[in-house]
């Protein structure tokens, strides 16, 4: 599909501890494959995919980040302008779940869109040895007003659905993606419509001007 048909380009971030399967989720979504041989992300990487939700074609630029401590100082800059963020944890590793608060505050600090859509994804549900229950994930998402889904990059459960939901939610959030397009030319005009409107409907004082 061509760019010109797309109504908008959305920037989406994937964050979370290293090894929770961020890159695998992205690969599953963009190429519908699972590569156990995928190497650990260095710094940041990204993939582009055009994606149609309810007839709206959108171009997604999805930024994948490395979760390692040492890379963390590097990544906040890529949060800028993101309209959606996917926070991933590994349901078979509680530590990755307990780090979510830290990731959340990182996103809150550096994201520039105040109402960006946040989604929580519990990954690797195919794997035995679950340590974080679905209820816990749900509770966290509810507490922080996030979308929530459990998924597996390996078996592709929930992956497509996660991205779909996220994009749909972004498109439904007014001001999140339209603003960009409109404010381009929005500049320095001084005139305002409302003054005219105010004149026409007459306030309580008009009889005694």
């Amino acid at each position: 599909m061509q760019d010109s048909e797309c109504i908008t380009t959305l920037k989406i971030l994937i964050v979370g501890e290293s090894g929770v399967g961020k890159s695998s989720l992205l690969l599953r979504f963009t190429d519908d494959t699972f590569d156990p041989e995928q190497s650990a992300t260095i710094g940041v990487d990204f993939k582009v995919k055009t994606f149609t939700v309810e007839g709206n074609c959108t171009k997604l630029a999805i930024w994948d980040t490395a979760g390692q401590e040492r890379f963390r100082t590097l990544t906040p800059s890529y949060y800028r302008g993101g309209q959606g963020v996917i926070m991933v944890y590994d349901v078979t590793n509680r530590h990755t779940f307990s780090k979510l608060d830290m990731w959340l505050s990182e996103v809150d600090t550096y994201a520039t869109k105040p109402n960006l859509v946040r989604m929580l994804v519990g990954n690797k549900i195919d794997k035995p040895g679950r340590e974080v229950s679905r209820e816990e994930g749900l509770a966290f998402a509810r507490r922080h007003a996030m979308l929530f889904i459990e998924a597996s990059a390996k078996t592709q459960d929930g992956v497509q659905c996660a991205f779909e939901e996220l994009v749909q939610k972004i498109l439904q959030t007014p001001g999140l993606w339209e603003v960009d397009n409109r404010s381009q030319g929005g500049g320095f005009s001084v005139s305002r419509e409302d003054t005219a409107a105010q004149q026409s409907s007459c306030g309580g004082y008009c009889s005694l001007v």
């Binding site: 190497s39 869109k113 320095f188 007459c202």
Partner: protein, 1153 residues
């Protein structure tokens, strides 16, 4: 001028040459009627609020543009919103709707009235405060107006008739019973004519408007009755009209002592006084209004229902006294007209607007000031040594740089200033400003109050002990989200100073000059390795740019990083050479102080760590006798209990190069670059390579610190989650397993980048690595960025910071905490529609509103700069400022002197407090015991001296109030002359410190009440705790909140009395000045009404002359002929100075036509 015509020809003027356009227009109107669901009758409309004569309904508007030929008209439908409370929807139960019985007739016409006309004879709500003028003049509750879409067009009466015929036809065709009107002449004249068609009925609406005095024959009620009788063509005596009358009295010249305004900050004066650095005016944002924000006070006395003959209002005789009117309403007007004209800004709003306008300027500094002020000039002034610095990494630190304090620099600056062309700011001003922006950190002078705070937050230091102010900064939480700069830091100060420069020191050229000087200072600081103050906490390592702050702040942080880096680099070189000679013993201590920073560790390797290691693993390792190539370098600390897999020695966290500090624009460029590599595998690989430089650096540092390590060791520190436990039954061929763990699959893939980089890395401690951060280049780039800013661009960068400062400035206003938020925009606000703010609850306070504003600012500050949206924020802040100003002014005008100036400490009754402690309830505590009362009475004697000249009239009216009246409790309270104030509502400037602002601590002031009866009264009065002052404060609050306020108890209530006093003071003042003839009330009362007196003399009351008179005359008459049913008719008239308007609504029985 349009005047009334016969209504018969309305349908006849159908110009067939324009027929097609006319038809098109008619069809479009019909469509609109259908679209709005107004076709056919039978809909009901919410009744007007019966609570008061001036109460307003909320109105709903629907609009549509319809062209007549090429001429656009706006068709708008107006109707009241359904209110939540289920008031009786039928008019039958309403006492104030005139029923035929009121006219002494039995026959009913009501059934035939369409809803739009149902209330034309309603007396209960005859002067609504806020309503479309059509609703007020014709008494309509539902109507459609066609008006030219552009307010500059005017519609000739003939054209208007044509339009009206189209509207009427459309209404007929669709069975629409809504009143149809056309706006005639210029929109500003507000002349409307129209018609209503309903089954069996036709009504015409017409209007006369003169911009001059009315003709003599209709100057008063008698004249109007004459007019309406002529119109309906029946004998006047048969009419028995029922009227509503309202007189409005206006104060527009305040007696001097009632006038309120603050004195402007005199910057010139302050700057002229530089001897003791008295330029404090520059340091703060100004706040408040220079002009009395209450231009006019309107007091309306209304008689909603006056049967004919119950009064006289004519040239000959006049019997209506406003002090007897049953309803009083009051409102205040801001200066320069308009409901809330944004043009009247306070000092703060004005300053902010000026900066906003400056943001639009695109000129550069040299363009504004001449080429002498180009950046080259600045560069030429730099040391040669700094140029050298950029070439060599290890310059010898110049002692001169350290010694050359700001003093010398400023002196040099002054000299330069005299040789270079003079800028718009004088040397003194520049010096004062620079001293404020770059205070001398080392100075311990007492008079140096410009030093920056030692810690920074997003809100300034808060002093909760000031009266009314909450314990914590009210914006503490919301300011965190602002992408601005630390409160009271350099950028913050710069924004404030620029604001003053724009407003008072010479406009944009002054800002340009300032920018130029600031840039010189910054260059000087870089050249001499002096950290820029006010950017981050002093005495701490300059942090990397904080991406959560604005770009300007980031650039300054970047500059400081460069300066600190360079300083360390130069000092390090010097120290290293010293250390080489002196075995580095002194250096070890300094390394211990900073384990986190990398640079210092670079040079002073962890001698102490080695010792520690020896202590900890004293057994074998210390005896290893490591050779020099294997000597560990650049260790910071042990990594927990981890040991190297092969040698089993401790694993050390190496000193690493921090990732180069970076500002967001640079980061964006980098991201852009990465993006351009594309979405391919090669692109991904390329990206990984680009980003692996920091990985490489870290690996080399790690290798240097941990001789004999392997990749798995590195991974265990760097990416511990890739060191995974071995699953039972796993295929472990060729996999190295230690302690049941192994490297993750993705790390063991042959040829993956981690392995590759590991193989290619050498053990090099961070200090000997190629520097990832080039301070000279980065500093130059930051300075260049600043130099590229024109003053307009600078203002754009400062705007969010300035607004941040403005919000915090507003939070310092004590009155912010005493007023409801509705005081800002009113309850039925025209502003609400343009607000992006969520609707406020009535109960919400102004601080809550300020928080919302700040939050909105936070959102804006993170988005690309949109000046229009910032403009909204400024207007909202201005509205708050004006509101506070109005509140101050009204308090000044309405609260009695004592209430404003009383010193609470002396008046607080100790025994009252004790009685509270004893457990009596709060309301009871408010009622003083007899003993207390006596006590306070004695004490009040001194206090009330100042007001012993209370007009006799007031005493008299106090007498009146004793009689039971609608004023109820409030007036009773006033009668025993007691005024108690809640400290929590008091003026801040009234020396209230030291009194806890809890509700319980009250004080009592007596106003010379004289008899014991008062005590009795006091006891009998209901214990509602509402005293005079509370009544007045609530009057003030509602005057601010709603357009028009009911004055409880009219002239007899507490509020009414206060207003009356104000009017009397104003009249006295005018009499003194001779602008009003002297005229005593006694005289008026004494003189028998006589024909000799002029109308003016007759209408004068204790409130002066009415500035406006409004009359509504309601009659019933058989129209069009004596055989028709009795139909309702309504005439409305206003008499203003030089403006006279009559609006008539006449219904005709169309049953047989």
């Amino acid at each position: 001028m349009h005047s009334q015509d016969g209504d018969e020809e309305v349908f006849e003027i159908v110009d067939f040459t324009t027929a097609s356009e006319w038809e098109v227009f008619t069809a479009a109107v019909e469509e609109a009627i259908q679209g709005w669901g107004l076709a056919g009758g039978g809909r009901s409309i919410p009744p007007p609020p019966s609570s008061s004569v001036s109460a307003s309904s909320q109105w709903r508007e629907q609009k549509q543009i319809i062209n007549y030929s090429d001429f656009p008209f706006e068709l708008s439908y107006h109707c009241p919103l359904e209110t939540g409370s289920s008031e009786e929807s039928s008019n039958h139960g309403r006492a104030d709707v005139l029923s035929p019985g009121d006219f002494g007739e039995e026959e009913s016409y009501e059934d035939s009235l369409p809803p739009s006309l149902a209330y034309i004879h309603d007396c209960s709500n005859c002067f609504p405060n806020r309503a479309h003028c059509v609703a007020r003049w014709y008494g309509l509750r539902e109507f459609i107006i066609a008006a030219p879409a552009s307010s500059s067009c005017s519609v000739a009466p003939s054209k208007a008739r044509l339009l009206l015929s189209a509207l009427t036809l459309a209404a007929n065709n669709t069975g629409c019973e809504v009143a149809m009107l056309v706006q005639v002449l210029k929109p500003a004249e507000r002349v409307f004519m129209g018609s209503v068609t309903a089954p069996g009925l036709r009504a015409t609406l017409d209007m006369i408007h003169f911009r001059c005095s009315p003709p003599v024959e209709c100057q008063d009620y008698e004249g109007l009755v004459e007019l309406i009788s002529d119109k309906v063509g029946i004998e006047r005596l048969r009419l028995e009209p029922v009227s509503s009358i309202r007189f409005t009295y206006i104060i527009n010249e305040w007696p001097e002592e009632a006038c309120w305004a603050q004195t402007p900050p005199d910057l010139d004066l302050e700057l002229g006084d530089l001897g003791d650095l008295g330029y404090s005016g520059l340091k703060q944002l100004p706040f408040g209004l220079l002009y009395d924000p209450v231009r006019e006070l309107h007091l309306s006395a209304a008689w909603p229902r006056l049967p004919h003959g119950s009064f006289e209002d004519s040239l000959l005789r006049f019997t209506l006294d406003p002090c007897d009117a049953p309803c009083w309403t009051a409102k205040v007007l801001p200066p320069a007209g308009g409901v809330e004209g944004p043009e009247v800004a306070g000092l703060l709003g004005e300053h902010l607007m000026e900066l906003l306008h400056a943001c639009r300027d695109e000129r550069s500094v040299p363009e504004l000031l001449g080429s002498a002020f180009s950046d080259h000039g600045a560069q030429g002034g730099r040391d040669v040594s700094s140029a050298l610095d950029r070439l060599t990494e290890h310059a010898v630190p110049s002692l001169g740089a350290v010694l050359l304090g700001p003093h010398r620099h400023r002196a040099a600056g002054n000299k330069r200033g005299s040789t270079v062309q003079q800028g718009p700011l004088s040397e003194e001003v520049i010096a004062a400003i620079l001293n404020f922006l770059f205070p001398e950190e080392y100075s311990t002078d007492d008079d140096n109050d410009s030093a920056y705070p030692t810690t920074f937050a997003r809100v300034p230091h808060w002093q909760p002990h000031v009266q009314h102010l909450p314990d914590e900064h009210p914006l503490k939480d919301v300011c965190v989200g602002l992408k601005t700069a630390p409160a009271e830091g350099l950028v913050w100060r710069l924004s404030v100073v620029c604001c003053h420069a724009l407003h008072s020191l010479g406009g944009l050229p002054a800002v340009a000059h300032l920018l130029y000087e600031v840039l010189l200072e910054l260059r000087f600081r870089w050249d001499n390795c002096l950290v820029v103050p006010g950017v981050s906490p002093a005495f701490e390592e300059p942090p990397p740019p904080d991406l959560a702050s604005c770009l300007l702040q980031q650039k300054l942080q970047m500059l400081n990083c460069c300066i600190a880096h360079r300083e360390r680099r130069e000092r390090g070189t010097a120290a290293a050479s010293v250390a080489a000679a002196a075995a580095g013993s002194a250096a070890a201590g300094s390394a211990g102080t900073s384990l986190l920073g990398f640079d210092e560790d670079e040079f002073f390797d962890c001698v102490s760590d080695d010792d520690e290691e020896k202590d900890a693993d004293s057994s074998k390792e210390s005896n290893d006798g490591l050779m020099s190539w294997d000597e560990p370098e650049g260790r910071v600390r042990r990594c927990g209990e981890l040991r190297l897999l092969h040698s089993r020695r401790r694993l050390y966290v190496p000193a690493t190069q921090d990732p180069a500090p970076c500002t967001e624009d640079k980061l964006e460029q980098q991201a852009e670059l990465l993006l351009r590599l594309g979405d391919t595998d090669e692109g991904s690989a390329m990206r990984a390579r680009l980003m692996s430089s920091s990985l490489l650096s870290d690996m080399e540092s790690f290798k240097a610190a941990n001789p004999g390590c392997v990749l798995a060791d590195f991974v265990r520190w760097y990416s511990p989650r890739d060191w995974v436990p071995v699953a039972p039954g796993e295929d472990l061929v060729g996999v190295e397993v230690v302690d049941g763990h192994r490297l993750s699959d993705r790390m063991t893939i042959p040829g993956n980048l981690w392995q590759e980089v590991w193989k290619g890395s050498l053990p090099v401690p961070a200090r000997r690595q190629k520097r990832l951060f080039d301070d000279a280049r980065e500093a130059e780039s930051a300075l260049q960025w600043l130099a590229s800013l024109g003053p307009g661009a600078l203002c754009r960068h400062l705007l969010p910071v300035l607004l941040h400062a403005a919000c915090c400035r507003t939070a310092l206003e004590p009155h912010l905490y005493t007023l409801p938020s509705t005081a800002v925009w009113g309850q039925t606000s025209a502003y609400q529609s343009l607000e992006a703010l969520p609707p406020l609850q009535h109960s919400e306070s102004l601080p809550a509103l300020l928080c919302l504003l700040t939050q909105r600012l936070g959102r804006l500050s993170r988005q690309p700069c949109d000046l229009n949206k910032y403009r909204d924020v400024i207007e909202q802040l201005s509205a708050v400022e004006r509101c506070l100003g109005r509140a101050m002014s009204l308090r000044h005008k309405l609260l009695p002197q004592e209430a404003r100036n009383v010193e609470p400490k002396q008046k607080t009754l100790d025994n009252k407090r004790t009685s509270e402690v004893d457990g009596s309830s709060m309301t009871e505590a408010r009622r003083p015991s007899d003993e207390e009362h006596r006590k306070s009475k004695t004490s009040s004697d001194e206090i009330s001296q100042g007001t012993s000249d209370v007009p006799a009239s007031r005493q008299a009216s106090s007498e009146q109030t004793r009689r039971p009246s609608r004023a109820g409790n409030a007036s009773k309270h006033s009668s025993h002359g007691e005024e108690k104030f809640k400290v929590g509502l008091e003026d801040s400037d009234d020396a209230m410190e030291g009194v806890e602002s809890n509700l319980g601590s009250q004080f009592t002031v007596l106003q010379g009440s004289d008899d014991t009866q008062d005590d009795k009264d006091g006891k009998d009065a209901p214990k509602d705790g509402k005293d005079d002052s509370a009544v007045l404060l609530s009057l003030i609050s509602s005057l601010l909140s709603s357009g028009e306020v009911d004055v409880e108890g009219a002239a007899k209530g507490v509020a009414g009395q206060a207003l009356l006093r104000l009017f009397e003071r104003s009249i006295e003042e005018q009499e003194r000045q001779g602008s009003l003839p002297r005229y005593s009330m006694e005289q008026r009362a004494a003189t028998a009404p006589s024909a000799r007196r002029s109308l003016a003399e007759q209408t004068r009351s204790r409130l002066g002359y009415p500035g406006a008179r409004e009359y509504i005359v309601r009659v019933r008459a058989e129209l069009p002929s004596r055989t028709s049913r009795l139909m309702p008719h309504r005439l409305y008239a206003t008499f203003l100075k030089g403006d006279f308007r009559v609006a008539g609504l006449f219904t005709q029985d169309a049953t047989f036509s």
